[in-house]
C-alpha cells in the first residue's frame, strides 16, 4: 500500500536533502518516518478526510530535489512587509528581509548552532505525532523557521512568508514554528503560488503558540499551479486574553487542502477563521477547520464564502468543540457558497460538539446561484455579462473580506480579486 516514491524511495530522497550528514537531523527524520510508516496515510474512514480521498497521496510519485531555482516572481499580494522567501520550499536568504526585533532562525541556523533542544521541540510536538502528514513533513525536514516574538513586541510591518514554486515534479516540506509571547502584536501573511503550469506537492506544517494578551492576524493567499498538490496543516494554540484571526483566500491547485486546528486554552479569547474561495477549472479545494474550546468565556467565529465554477469541487468542514465546563462560549459558523456551473460541486459539513450547557453556538450553510434579477439589472445598464458576473461574485465574497481587521492587508486581497 505504501509503495509510492515518497515512501519506497525515502532513503534515496533523503540523500538529496541538506543536512543529511547531521546526526541529530538524521535521527529526527528517521524516527518520524518510522512513526509515519506505523500510522500510514490518513485512512479512508477518517472523518477529517471525508470529502478529499487520500488516494492521491499514495499515487504521487514525486521526488525531492536539491536544485535551487534562481527564478523568482514577485507575489501577487502587494504589501509592505518583511519577507521570508522560499522557492520550491527552499529558503532563499538573499531575497529575504528580516525584522530585527524578532528572533527568526532558519533550520540551517538551528542545525549549525547545534540547538538540539529547540530543533526537537519544533519537529516533534504532540501535534506532529498525531498527524500522518505532519510526520511525513518531519521525516523530510529540511526547510523552515523558528520564529519567536518576544514579550510586548509590536511589529510595525507584517511578516510575509513567500512560497513560490518553480520546479516540476518535486515534493517539498516546509515547517513554521511560531511563538508569540505575552502582549505582542503581529501580522503574518503567507503566499503560496506559481505562475507555471507544473505539478508539485507542497506539504507545509505551521504551528503557532499564542501566549496571553496578544493579537495575531494570520492571512494566507493560495494560488498554486492548476496541477499542484497543496496540503497544509495549521495548529494554533491561544491563551488567555488573546485574539487570533485567520483568513484564507483559496484559488489554485489541483488538490488544495487546508486544515486548521485551533485550541483555545485560556479565557477571554477571540478567534476568527475567515475564508473565501474562487475556484475555476478542475480545482478540488478542501477547507477543514476545528476550534476546540477547552476553557470558558470565549468567542469564536468561522465565516466561509466561496464560488465554484467549471468542474471544481469545494469542501468546507467546520467543527466547533466545547469541552465540559467551558461555559459562556459563543461559537458561530457560517458557510455560504455559489455554484457557477452545473458541473461544479459543493460539500459542506458544519458540526457542533458541545459538552457545556451555558453556551451560544450556531451554524448555517447555504448553496445558491448568481441572482438572475441582479445580473439583468447590471446588464440592462450596459455592463457586459462577464463583468456583471464578476461584480456579483466580488460583492458576494466581500462579506468575508470586510470582516478582516487589518485594513491595509484587506485592501491588498481585494485588489487581487479585482485583478482576476
Amino acid at each position: 500500500m505504501l509503495n509510492n516514491n515518497l515512501v519506497k524511495g525515502y532513503k534515496d530522497n533523503i540523500k538529496s536533502l541538506s543536512f543529511s550528514d547531521n546526526e541529530l537531523v538524521s535521527k529526527i527524520r528517521k524516527n518520524a518516518f518510522t512513526d509515519f510508516i506505523n500510522s500510514g496515510f490518513p485512512k479512508a474512514y477518517d472523518e477529517n478526510w471525508r470529502y478529499t480521498k487520500q488516494k492521491f497521496l499514495k499515487e504521487i510519485n514525486f521526488k525531492t530535489s536539491n536544485h535551487i531555482s534562481e527564478n523568482f516572481i514577485e507575489p501577487e499580494l502587494e504589501i509592505d512587509a518583511y519577507h521570508l522567501v522560499f522557492i520550491d520550499g527552499k529558503f532563499i536568504t538573499k531575497k529575504s528581509i528580516i525584522p530585527n526585533n524578532v528572533e527568526i532562525k532558519s533550520f540551517k541556523n538551528l542545525i549549525e548552532g547545534d540547538d538540539s533542544n529547540l530543533l526537537k521541540k519544533i519537529t516533534n510536538s504532540d501535534f506532529v505525532k498525531s498527524s500522518p502528514l505532519a510526520l511525513l513533513n518531519t521525516a523530510y525536514l529540511e526547510n523552515g523557521f523558528y520564529i519567536n516574538v518576544k514579550k510586548d513586541t509590536i511589529l510595525n510591518k507584517p511578516i510575509h512568508i513567500i512560497n513560490y514554486s518553480d520546479t516540476a515534479d518535486i515534493f517539498y516540506n516546509v515547517k513554521y514554528y511560531i511563538n508569540i509571547e505575552d502582549g505582542s502584536k503581529i501580522d503574518l501573511v503567507e503566499s503560496c503560488y506559481s505562475f507555471k503550469n507544473i505539478s508539485y506537492f507542497n506539504n507545509t506544517v505551521t504551528e503557532i503558540n499564542i501566549a496571553k494578551n496578544a493579537i495575531v492576524n494570520h492571512y494566507k493567499y493560495q494560488n498554486e499551479s492548476k496541477s499542484a498538490y497543496h496540503v497544509c496543516l495549521n495548529k494554533v494554540t491561544i491563551d488567555a486574553d488573546s485574539s487570533y484571526e485567520n483568513f484564507i483566500m483559496q484559488k489554485g491547485g489541483l488538490i488544495a487542502r487546508n486544515e486548521t486546528v485551533i485550541d483555545v486554552i485560556g479565557e477571554n479569547t477571540n478567534t476568527k477563521t475567515l475564508a473565501c474561495y474562487m475556484l475555476k477549472g478542475t480545482t478540488h479545494s478542501d477547507l477543514t477547520t476545528r476550534v476546540n474550546h477547552h476553557t470558558p468565556n470565549a468567542s469564536s467565529e468561522q465565516t466561509v464564502k466561496g464560488v465554484a465554477d467549471d468542474e471544481t469541487k469545494a469542501i468546507f468542514q467546520g467543527k466547533v468543540y466545547v469541552a465540559r465546563g467551558a461555559q459562556k462560549v459563543s461559537g458561530n459558523q457560517l458557510h455560504k457558497s455559489l455554484l457557477l456551473s452545473d458541473k461544479a460541486e459543493i460539500d459542506t459539513k458544519p458540526e457542533l460538539e458541545v459538552y457545556a450547557d451555558d453556551v451560544e453556538c450556531s451554524h448555517g450553510a447555504s448553496i445558491g446561484e448568481l441572482d438572475d434579477k441582479q445580473l439583468f439589472y447590471l446588464r440592462a445598464r450596459g455592463i457586459d455579462e462577464e463583468l456583471a458576473r464578476k461584480m456579483l461574485v466580488e460583492a458576494f465574497l466581500d462579506e468575508v473580506l470586510e470582516k478582516m481587521s487589518n485594513e491595509t492587508l484587506r485592501q491588498a486581497f481585494v485588489s487581487v480579486i479585482k485583478r482576476d
Binding site: I383, L392, E394, A395, E399
Partner: protein, 252 residues
Amino acid sequence: MSVLLEIDNLHARVDNKEILKGFSLTINEGETHAIMGPNGAGKSTLSYVLAGREGYEITSGTVKFKGKNLLSMSIEERAREGVFLAMQYPVEIPGVATSTFLKHSLNSIRKHQGLEELDTMNFIKVLKQKASELGINQDMIKRPINVGFSGGEKKRVETLQMSILEPSFAILDEADSGLDIDALKVVAGGVNKLRNDKRSMLVITHYQRLLNYIVPDFVHVFADGKIVKSGNKDLALELEEKGYGEFIGNKY
C-alpha cells in the same frame, strides 16, 4: 421626423402563458408616449421584453430600434444602443456601491459610443452634480445599490441613473409609485430636463397626476396584451374619470 422605435404585432409568452398579444407601437424621435392600463395587462412584461430580459419567448412580431433588430441584441447591447429601463421594482445588490456600478455602466456605454471613458475623479464630479439636482445625498451614492433605500429613494436613483447615462430611449415603469408629492415633482423635473427633440420616452403609469408634470404627446390604453385605444393627453383625464371599463368591455 424619424422613427426611433417600431414595435409590430409583438406576441410574447412567459411560462407558456401569452402576455403580449399583438402589441404594436411606433415612437418617433423626441416623442413622449404614456401607457396606462389595468394591473396585469402586461405593461412591465413589455418593458422587460424591450430591455431583453431572459425568460420571455417571442412567438411573433418584430421590434426595430434605430432601424436595427432590437430582439437579436443582448441585454447590454440594447443598453449601449440607448435603451434605458427605469424599473418598477429596482433590484437591490448588496456589496456593489451605487457609484462603482454607475461608473462601470457609464463607461461601458461611452466606450461603445466611441467616447473616452471617464476617470474616477471626473465621474464623481458628474455624479455629484446630477445627484444634488435630484435631491440625492452623497451618502446614498456610496451605499450598495438600492439596499435599504426607501421606495421613493429607489425611484430617485433610477432617475439619477437615467440622467447620467443619457439614453436615447427611456422606459419609465411606474416611475411615480411610492413618491411623495415633492419627490414626484423632483423626479418629473429630472425627466423633463432630459426631454429634447431626439430623445424619446415611454411612460408607464397608473395615475394621470404624473402626466400633469411629464406631459405626453400620446396616451395609449393597454389592456390584455395590446393597445386598445390611443389619443392625446386628454385621454388620460378621461380614463381617470371613467376607469378602464369602457375600453376593455365586459370584463369590468
